[in-house]
């Protein structure tokens, strides 16, 4: 049986969730093209994935917040990979909310990384996928997109923007047979969240990656990772503002 995904392009591949996901793809013998900022880290990851069974691993070094280079970058990867079955956007940063609150430049940099760079890539990728008439376009959003919270509304706003965009894009690309998947992980134990205290609802990159693989092989729409965040976030969305403030969520 052919694996459901045969070649994939992963932006932000050295983030812990993307890395764990790439390792699953590697085990299934997928051809990969990884894009990231740090050359040595990408090179080491590529060696790791080849050893785990990836058919081939190519890398491109790029700072994705510089949107000017996107067109050329995507074209290069597209050509090297041939018809990609999957493109995953996994780059992002959590940023320091309190610093952003008083510093517009920092806030703008965060919106640039978490939202604008995604939209720029999605614009280019959507057209290519529409033309290709198959495949899956996925981006890592967050449960933070579901409701603005005092402690991380800037990150949340970027993710909410991304999620809305994906929702619309999904409708646009559905007639072309292209799936657009909005991945919303809850908090995950990764280098990005090293400074935060962990609770019982936290997950780990391997678990999230396994759920992602299952979702990305056949599902369309919004996927909560792990699954239990769907009912939790439904409740959180239903809560009146007063209650949110009172509970200090």
């Amino acid at each position: 049986m052919k694996p459901p995904i045969q070649n994939a392009m992963v932006f932000g591949a050295t983030s812990a969730i993307a890395t764990a996901f790439c390792r699953i793809l590697a085990r299934h013998g997928v051809r990969l093209h990884l894009i990231g900022r740090e050359e040595d880290a990408l090179r080491n990851l590529a060696r790791d994935l080849e050893l785990r069974g990836a058919k081939s691993v190519a890398i491109s070094v790029a700072d994705l917040s510089e949107t000017g280079s996107h067109e050329q970058l995507v074209t290069e990867c597209w050509e090297s990979l041939g018809k990609p079955g999957l493109v995953l956007l996994a780059h992002g940063s959590l940023g320091a909310q309190t610093a952003c609150e008083t510093d517009w430049e920092q806030q703008r940099a965060q919106i640039q990384t978490n939202l604008l760079s995604h939209l720029s890539l999605l614009t280019i990728l959507a057209n290519k996928f529409e033309h290709q008439r198959s495949g899956c376009l996925a981006a890592i959003s967050s449960v933070a997109a579901d409701r603005g919270r005092a402690s991380n509304y800037i990150y949340g706003a970027a993710k909410a923007g991304l999620s809305s965009y994906l929702e619309g894009l999904r409708s646009r690309l559905a007639p072309a047979g292209v799936r657009v998947v909005d991945l919303r992980p809850g908090p995950v134990d990764t280098p990005m969240t090293a400074g935060l205290p962990k609770g019982p609802l936290w997950s780990n990159p391997e678990r999230v990656a396994r759920a992602m693989y299952r979702a990305l092989t056949h599902r369309n729409g919004t996927v909560y990772l792990p699954f239990y965040w769907r009912p939790i976030m439904w409740l959180v969305r239903m809560m009146p503002d007063v209650l949110i403030r009172k509970l200090g969520i």
């Binding site: 740090e38 080491n44 280098p191 090293a194 019982p200």
Partner: protein, 437 residues
């Protein structure tokens, strides 16, 4: 998080002031270059029992995400990987290619970095030595930003100090190690009951050369003088080499339990199972059930709740072993303190480069005790003198209480080791030992 603030046994704690979690080696170098982190210590999967992997009020560097395989030669079995790769990952991936780790402790939830820093041993020490015996080369980051490659030929003093060096010589970035060929995941297991220590030691001298893995389960209900001597070999016949995915029993929700009762009950049940449920004689077993019996319950330590438990692991030199063990068990008997689990292992003469490595040729026993506070501590203090008198020693990876004088007396290479310390790396264990080093 408990892993960063508590030792595995739950007795020692120390909250780090700061946690760094580098996503890559470049990331780590950037973090260290700021020079603002004070004292440093690498940590992995949190399986050190005491305070070896804690750095209270200092900075912990969480190495779990430095976990790439870098190269593997399927002909020679030489593997190079980053320090955060776990033994589980290595076994899972490389048994399929017919290779396995030559030495593993009783759990696979250990990183390569941790296995090197504690120079861990397995049940096959007489044949294979300790983990460090199989390390070909290391790459180490020092706090001054240097990255040093070392091996038996190159920077050999740093190499020897880092193996078993408790993470105090810098941060292990990656390691090159020799795996062993494997034909099948199944094992031949043999259990022989024994009724007293003399019988056990006689059995061992008869079987030590014909079997690879040796342990003794010693029954706490019989004063640890009866039990089963368990021997195992890897199966000779070619067989299945792919791990099947086994479901583990999740216990994470038990974090912060007030009582250690569930843990005591689990150990009672385990001992009862060994006493009544397991037949002696030959049978087939799997690597997982034979070498890593507790890995089905990854968070079993949480069953001991807030009180935690003590594990006391010591080694006696061969000539003195039986007499010293007899004396040790007598003292425990007289103390009224409850042993929940007792496991014996044998160490052979194969050497390791490690300066602070624990194994000595002889017999090692690991005893778990219920935590009854100062009463238990007093008992352990009196056991220390038996260990010291016969030139044995305690295992730092399991320790959270050994007096620094005992450590200084029983690790003769301490001074040589001191010359290789990284000035910024320190652990809570080392803070306790420092007055004598």
């Amino acid at each position: 998080m408990r892993r960063l603030t508590h030792g595995w046994a739950g007795i020692n704690h120390g909250s780090p002031h700061h946690v760094l979690a580098p996503a890559s080696v470049g990331d780590l170098q950037q973090m260290l270059a700021t020079g603002q982190h004070g004292s440093l210590l690498a940590c992995g999967l949190g399986r050190s029992y005491g305070d070896c992997a804690l750095n209270g009020n200092g900075t912990l560097i969480d190495c779990r995400f430095l976990n790439n395989f870098l190269s593997f030669d399927p002909d020679s079995g030489v593997l190079e990987c980053e320090a955060g790769v776990s033994l589980l990952e290595i076994n899972r991936l490389l048994t399929a290619a017919g290779w396995m780790l030559p030495v593993t402790p009783g759990t696979q939830f250990v990183t390569i970095g941790g296995a090197i820093a504690n120079d861990v041993h397995g049940k096959n020490h007489p044949q294979e030595g300790s983990f460090g015996t199989h390390i070909i080369a290391l790459k180490i980051a020092r706090s001054n930003g240097e990255v040093l490659e070392c091996s038996l030929e190159n920077n050999e003093a740093l190499f020897a100090a880092t193996i078993g060096g408790l993470g105090l010589t810098g941060l292990i970035l990656s390691a090159t190690l020799q795996l062993r060929p494997l034909k099948s995941l199944s094992m031949d297991v043999n259990r022989i009951p024994f009724d007293n220590l003399a019988e056990l030691f006689a059995l061992v001298s008869r079987h030590i050369d014909s079997w690879e893995y040796h342990t003794a389960w010693m029954d706490p209900a019989a004063g640890c003088r009866k039990g089963h001597y368990i021997l195992a070999n890897h199966a000779d016949e070619p067989g299945n080499l792919n791990w099947s995915e086994r479901r583990s029993i999740p216990l994470g929700f038990l974090a912060g339990l007030a009582s250690d009762l569930p843990g005591r009950l689990l150990m009672k049940a385990a001992n009862l199972w060994y006493r009544k449920g397991v037949r002696s004689g030959h049978r087939q077993g799997s690597i997982e059930s034979t070498l890593y019996p507790l890995d089905r319950i990854p968070d079993w330590n949480l069953l001991f709740g807030k009180p935690g438990f003590f594990q006391y692991q010591c080694v006696f030199p061969e000539a003195a072993a039986q007499a010293a063990l007899d004396e040790l068990l007598k003292v425990i008997d007289g103390s009224g303190q409850a042993v929940t689990l007792a496991v014996g292992k044998w160490f052979g003469t194969r050497s390791t480069p490690g300066l602070l490595s624990f194994p000595l040729p002889g017999f090692s026993i690991a005893l778990d005790f219920v935590n009854n506070g100062s009463e238990t501590r007093r008992l352990l203090d009196s056991l220390d003198s038996i260990v010291g008198d016969c030139n044995g020693r305690l295992y730092p990876a399991k320790d959270g209480r050994m007096p620094s004088a005992l450590f200084a007396d029983t690790y003769p290479e301490l001074e040589k080791f001191g010359q290789q310390l990284d000035p910024l790396f320190i652990s809570d264990f080392w803070k306790r030992m420092e007055q004598h080093t």
